[in-house]
Point group: C2
Chain length 200, copies 2
């Protein structure tokens, strides 16, 4: 399915709060060799099942004056767990050989600290996370979000997120994921001046 295809609007599987403020608590972006299956602490199919349940592929767009258009597109793969299950996030970090761990101690509606594993670096997403799920497909409707996520990454590799029309299209695609609220970008005057999607 093309990126434009997603513009037709495929509702995502569920609302998942991925963007509560987390504090980085350690773990570099390259922990171990992701290609070395023997070092992996968990089975590939376990990872698929767990991500089918708990994983989140999202494309938030932030205000960032250092970016060409004043907006930063930040695709992210993340998994959140309560403190008592934090070990599996370390396992995921080791499995993919990239990504970071953080802790949210605010608790909000939770009764324990929430731990978070996330991968944001574009190279890690395109060379480690995406290839894994292309070979080991997700079983739930989360696969639709993964597909949109891949389309956004492809557009970013072409630099389209640095063009007004491309940014508008990425924002519209991101809007279809995770039952997201309308992004601040789409509500901004910049977005209103842009055509809603690429026509050619």
């Amino acid at each position: 399915m093309t990126a434009v295809g997603y513009m037709l609007g495929t509702p995502s599987i569920r609302h998942y709060r991925c963007h509560t403020p987390f504090v980085w608590c350690g773990g570099g972006e390259n922990v171990t060799g992701a290609d070395n299956q023997q070092e992996r602490p968990v089975a590939s199919e376990w990872v698929v099942g767990f991500v089918d349940g708990e994983g989140c592929f999202s494309v938030p767009i932030f205000r960032n004056d250092r970016c060409a258009l004043g907006w930063q597109v930040q695709p992210e793969f993340a998994v959140v767990q309560g403190a008592r299950s934090a070990q599996v996030l370390t396992d995921l970090q080791q499995f993919f050989g990239c990504g970071r761990l953080s802790i949210n101690t605010r608790r909000d509606n939770h009764r324990e600290d929430m731990h978070r594993y996330s991968v944001r670096r574009l190279e890690d997403l395109t060379t480690r996370v995406v290839p894994f799920f292309e070979v080991h497909p997700l079983h739930t409707a989360k696969s639709v979000e993964f597909s949109t996520f891949c389309d956004v990454l492809a557009m970013m590799r072409l630099g389209l997120h640095r063009t007004g029309a491309g940014l508008a299209q990425i924002a519209a695609m991101a809007e279809t994921m995770n039952f997201r609220k309308r992004s601040r970008y789409l509500e901004s005057s910049e977005a209103i001046r842009q055509p809603p999607h690429l026509d050619g």
Copy 2:
């Protein structure tokens, strides 16, 4: 760990609303042979990962005047998904060769119908669900709840849920699972008259 060991209080991993009213929508208790690996639509490790994320082992206790003590202990293994991912629940039903599917169309906080796979029949739990997770252990803290769940099943096989002290102990064990609210049984006059746990 013994059942009494759990009385010391092991907090469970997270609150998970398993007991919203669902309408049975089909699917018998024995769909296919669970032991026939070739018929299984999903890999064992995928099931472990998915249940680590989305599964729920619970022990609700209901008022039921037809039970000896007026209370029914109803252990249940359940997985809930939005309508767009309902197929994986059918896969789980086929995988375990037991259990039922239902739909909650109330939506509440959800934007789609919620589908539910559950196994309640004691024989299915003890001969199909429990043996699978004993051979393929859960990776998250949900394994602690599974262990408590197994202890409750063992007590029920001994008929202890039909004794006042046994029922009180099961209620206290169930209380440690899924961040549950205090059960109506434990707030009842029957429970208050019972010792809090077995001492010998």
